[in-house]
């Protein structure tokens, strides 16, 4: 009878199968373990910037960073340079080794976060201090050009209703707030110096922590608006701050490092190219960076289009 046969076959060879599965798993794990010291060490793409005359422009896997990279790329192209775009590479721990290895020549960076990558214990906080420390910290073969006035840095935000109810305008005011506070942000925030430990030691504010892994995205904003958390970490150039009528709390004691937009470049970028990028940085203000981000988020335009429009509007090149 066919149904019985099927039935029997469904669980007949179970012991060998379980054993096989276990063996396969162990072998796989062993292979994973053996493969390399650093699982991310393999070079994606691999080819270095090769032919002189072609500059490789890269960007983080972050829409705002890609827009800035696109602006750099188009500015260079408008002045006769050949550009190879390697956009949306990933996060700092992925792309910085590539830059240090010389496979990328131009990369939009953020002064504070970049400084912390090389010097995790840096005491610099203000924009100028951070920039000075960063120029000293950059490894041989790389340099940072002029920083722009535009910043995109971690910031703590509350709803306007919360700010008014509790009379809060800066992080220092939070210490007198009586309701229990929960901070929402990516899981790494919990252990970062500017996370709950920093809030406690610098401002005397004790908060509990809820991880929301979308880097200050819509889920984070939703949690704040729902009142599940009272305080969230959102990048200061994020359009959602204005759109949701959030209040960015001031940071008088410098819990966060200032993080201005700055091009990190290799030796291949000569003085002429550096001059072009410096012109771009001089023209980019904080509000304009937010506007560029708004165009990406609200109008869903491609980074290249936004960059072209901005360069035209600014009459650059």
């Amino acid at each position: 009878m066919a149904p019985y046969r099927e039935d029997d076959m469904a669980h007949e060879p179970r012991t060998p199968r379980v054993a096989l599965a276990a063996v396969t798993t162990i072998v796989t794990l062993a292979l994973v373990g053996c493969s390399a010291d650093d699982p991310l060490a393999e070079t994606p793409g691999g080819e270095s910037s090769g032919a002189s005359g072609t500059s490789v422009v890269g960007s983080q896997d972050y829409y705002s960073n890609e827009i800035i990279a696109e602006i750099y790329a188009q500015a260079l192209e408008a002045n006769g340079f050949t550009v190879d775009r390697q956009m949306r590479i990933g996060q700092r721990e992925v792309y910085l080794p590539e830059i240090e290895a010389g496979s990328i020549d131009v990369f939009p960076e953020y002064t504070g976060n970049l400084l912390q990558y090389w010097e995790p214990d840096t005491q610099a906080r203000t924009s100028q201090d951070v920039y000075t420390a960063l120029t000293a910290a950059v490894p041989d073969g790389l340099r940072v050009l002029d920083q722009s006035a535009a910043t995109d840095q971690d910031s703590y935000n509350v709803t306007r209703a919360f700010a008014e109810e509790n009379d809060v305008a800066s992080l220092a005011d939070l210490s007198s707030v009586t309701v229990p506070l929960t901070l929402g942000g990516n899981s790494e925030l919990e252990s970062r110096p500017y996370g709950p430990p920093g809030l406690s030691s610098v401002y005397g504010v004790d908060v509990s922590f809820t991880p929301i892994e979308d880097s200050g995205g819509p889920l984070t904003v939703k949690a704040l608006l729902d009142g599940d958390v009272q305080l969230v970490n959102i990048f200061s150039a994020d359009p959602s701050i204005a759109k949701n009528d959030l209040m960015t709390l001031e940071d008088p004691e410098g819990l966060f490092l200032a993080s201005n937009v700055v091009p990190l470049v290799s030796e291949k970028i000569d003085d002429e190219a550096a001059e072009i990028l410096n012109t771009v940085s001089a023209a980019l203000t904080a509000d304009e960076l937010v506007d560029l981000n708004v165009r990406s988020v609200d109008e869903q335009l491609a980074a290249a289009t936004i960059a072209t429009d901005w360069l035209a509007e600014k009459n650059l090149f």
Binding site: R14, L29, G33, C34, P211, K222
Partner: protein, 233 residues
């Protein structure tokens, strides 16, 4: 072997076994989330699957729907649900229920359908009601396959429950996200190994359960006697 050895060292470090962020606590959370999701999925899918298997109606619809549901990316669904329901465990549990339903459902209808028509007809012939046939013939005989469906769901859900940490402070996924973001690959791989180990343990337990359910085929007792089936010696 550095990262692998570091990961094992990370797991056995006693400092990682204390408090509400300790490994033991995270494992309990992980199991609770997975158990809740599979439990809810079973409550929803088992009756439907048994009904489909028993009546042999609506199979095309159910196969189509469960096939489509399998294609849903859980992270996307989680984000969508999170935007509707807010952060916390509700969104991940619902997303995991959706992940678990197809397997449980497929196991249920396939299990019931696998029961010999002769046995079912015999049961009907001796005067069993449809409900009695389902409860005393089809479910017991199809149990190994039904349990197999739950087993597949458990495996998927335990592996995917790491996503709960995307919007809640819960489960072994916390180690994965935190390790990734802070470049602590020992923590990340350690967390992954724990999830894999948990999945293997549960898989083993369900393999035993499935075996037990197939040997526990009910003997006809009392006034009820089924005809001996020529296909089974």
């Amino acid at each position: 072997m550095n990262v692998f050895a570091d990961a094992l060292r990370w797991i056995v470090d006693p400092a990682h076994w204390v408090g509400s962020a300790g490994i033991d606590y995270r494992i309990v959370e992980h199991l609770a989330i997975s158990g809740l999701a599979v439990g809810l999925a079973t409550v929803v899918a088992l009756p439907v699957g048994v009904l489909v298997g028993h009546t042999r109606r609506g199979r095309a619809l159910v196969v189509g729907l469960t096939g489509a549901a399998r294609a849903l990316p859980t992270l996307g669904l989680l984000t969508l649900l999170g935007l509707a329901l807010g952060i916390g465990l509700r969104a991940p549990v619902i997303a995991l229920v959706v992940l678990a339903i197809p397997s449980v459902l497929a196991g249920a209808y396939a299990g019931v359908e696998s029961v010999s028509r002769m046995a079912v007809d015999a049961a009907r012939a001796v005067g069993m009601t449809e409900w009695q046939i389902v409860r005393r013939v089809e479910i017991p005989l199809g149990l190994p396959i039904i349990v197999g469906g739950v087993r597949a769901a458990v495996l998927q859900v335990v592996a995917t429950a790491t996503l709960a940490a995307y919007i809640a402070d819960a489960g072994l996924g916390r180690y994965l996200f935190e390790g990734l973001k802070t470049r602590d690959y020992a923590e990340m791989l350690g967390g992954s190994l724990l999830v894999a180990a948990l999945a293997l343990v549960l898989e083993g337990a369900f393999a035993l359960l499935q075996r037990a359910s197939s040997t526990a085929t009910p003997r006809p007792g009392g006034t009820l006697r089924l005809l001996p089936d020529p296909g089974r010696q």
